[in-house]
Amino acid sequence: MPNKAGNLYGLTTLCPLLNSSVHNDTFSPVIRLRELLEQYNIVADSSPMRLVPNTYLARFFILDDVIFQSFPYQEEHLKSKYLVFTVNFHGELEQYLEGMYNAIPTDIASIWRDAVGFNVKDAQSFTTYIKKCQVETTFLFNGSTDMSLADQLKSLYIKQEFSDFVFKNQGVEPSVLLQEFKKFIQMTNPTESFPTWKAGVSDLNDIIQYK
């Protein structure tokens, strides 16, 4: 199944957009959507996708048209513009989309407001809509680990803290090292979910989540 590689799911969707707004906007749906997406870029760590469980990486862009290669190849055009939404996540599609709708219903309504056939009222209708927009991935390459996002973030937290630990405790007496290591384990709790790193945060001062 090309959409999956191990526990990784590669969702690819092409959501057709309305050619003109039905919301009395003075500008086209494409311009509104571009401005909306840009807002997520301007404010640091404000992506709604950070709230969606098990999302590794996601992207939105607008496919205005196909690309013309120049003579002697034939010129051709798309009849609609498409919002391309792709996401790499851990797990199964239905659970993921349900979790996505439950986490960010307002953002979903805003992003897909001007999409053709978008009449989403709940998680189930959102799942149905996205499945209609889904195109099959031909080949999916997983260059990362096959762990869940929570495990990856916990491991990254441990790696960061242990790197500091090793640096600070170079050359100390073995008995002190053992005591310090016990404190380290107590602080970082490797076998528990917390503390861990927050998803989608790039500020080191605000990255640790304690519960």
Partner: protein
């Protein structure tokens, strides 16, 4: 626009898949030849040389097809494919020289002709995307990954990558009022998530797996080959679509950090066992062994250095806005 999220870069390429010329001829040339052979013999009702009037008709048809093909090639008339028309024209000329055959041979020839044309229409209506799909099927097999795509596995800067091949009928239709796409070419979409700058990535790809790239982009329109790099880079630039919004769950971590973190976690869990009753000497031994195993995996992750002017502009704007507040 934002192709960058922390240490990750999002690349989107869309490339048309070639409408074949040689492939068209392979199916249509013998196909139409066989069909014409049958039709002309049936019309003449004898298996001798063609009557003069039919020979003249075939000659006229041949000239017409060749001229129409030329008009297609010059983009003056775009209702058909020049190679198909030229195949038909050539077949018409060949028909003028036909001699007798047995009925069984003629029927066999007719069947083969129809079959070939049918196959041609089936396989070639959207370019040769089926060939590309087949290549990706092979790419999924371990034996081929090692020989042709081994470099892809060693390009550790990639988080995830995917290829999606689309024909016009694959574009989603969400409403009866939405116009259906009508495209001559198939299209291949490539999405990649990697660390570092655009140049580092494209150059790494070109250096590490040139053969693999040439296979994956087989018969894509205008594909210049992965080496040399300059035309390859130009090709990628001209096919790239900028990302509107890009989200990364771990903006501070590279793909190698994620993989290293798993090793660190495994070693730490190993060190934790019997921690309450372990002797100092045994712990020191285990600790040294663990840190030795992790010597390539321990490093502190920090916010990414500025990798583009656009990224720098956003950071500057944020600083200004925070000062205003």
């Amino acid at each position: 626009m934002s192709n960058i999220a922390g240490k990750a870069y999002a690349m989107n390429l869309i490339t048309p898949v070639y409408v074949p010329t040689v492939w068209l001829c392979i199916f249509f040339l013998p196909g139409t030849l066989c069909t014409f052979t049958f039709v002309t013999h049936w019309l003449s009702n004898t298996f001798d040389l063609l009557p003069t009037w039919l020979g003249v008709l075939a000659l006229l048809l041949g000239v017409t097809f060749i001229v129409l093909g030329l008009l297609c090639w010059l983009k003056i008339w775009n209702k058909s494919n020049e190679y198909l028309l030229w195949s038909l024209g050539l077949c018409s000329f060949v028909c003028t020289t036909l001699s007798s055959h047995t009925t069984a041979t003629i029927i066999l020839v007719f069947t083969v002709g129809v079959l070939l044309i049918g196959l041609g229409i089936y396989f070639l209506r959207d370019g040769i995307t089926w060939v590309n799909r087949f290549i990706f099927k092979l790419a999924g097999l371990t034996i081929f990954q090692k020989s042709a795509f081994g470099g892809l596995l060693t390009l550790s800067l990639i988080h995830y990558a995917r290829w999606v091949i689309l024909r016009d009928k694959d574009f989603p239709i969400l409403s009866s009022t939405q116009p259906k796409e009508k495209l001559k070419y198939g299209y291949m979409l490539f999405f990649s998530n990697f660390n570092g700058s655009w140049t580092q990535y494209v150059d790494s790809f070109s250096s590490a797996i040139p053969g693999g790239l040439n296979l994956l982009w087989y018969k894509n329109v205008g594909w210049p080959d992965a080496v040399p790099e300059t035309p390859f880079n130009n090709y990628v630039v001209s096919k790239q679509i900028w990302t509107g919004h890009y989200y990364n769950a771990y903006p501070l971590a590279s793909s190698n950090d994620v993989k290293s973190a798993q090793k660190v976690m495994d070693e730490i869990r190993g060190l934790c066992t019997h921690l309450d009753d372990i002797s100092v000497a045994d712990f020191k031994k285990a600790y040294d062994k663990a840190t030795l195993n992790l010597q390539n995996d321990l490093s502190r992750m920090e916010p990414t250095p500025i990798v583009s002017l656009a990224n720098e502009a956003i950071e500057k704007r944020r600083r200004i806005e925070s000062n205003i507040r």
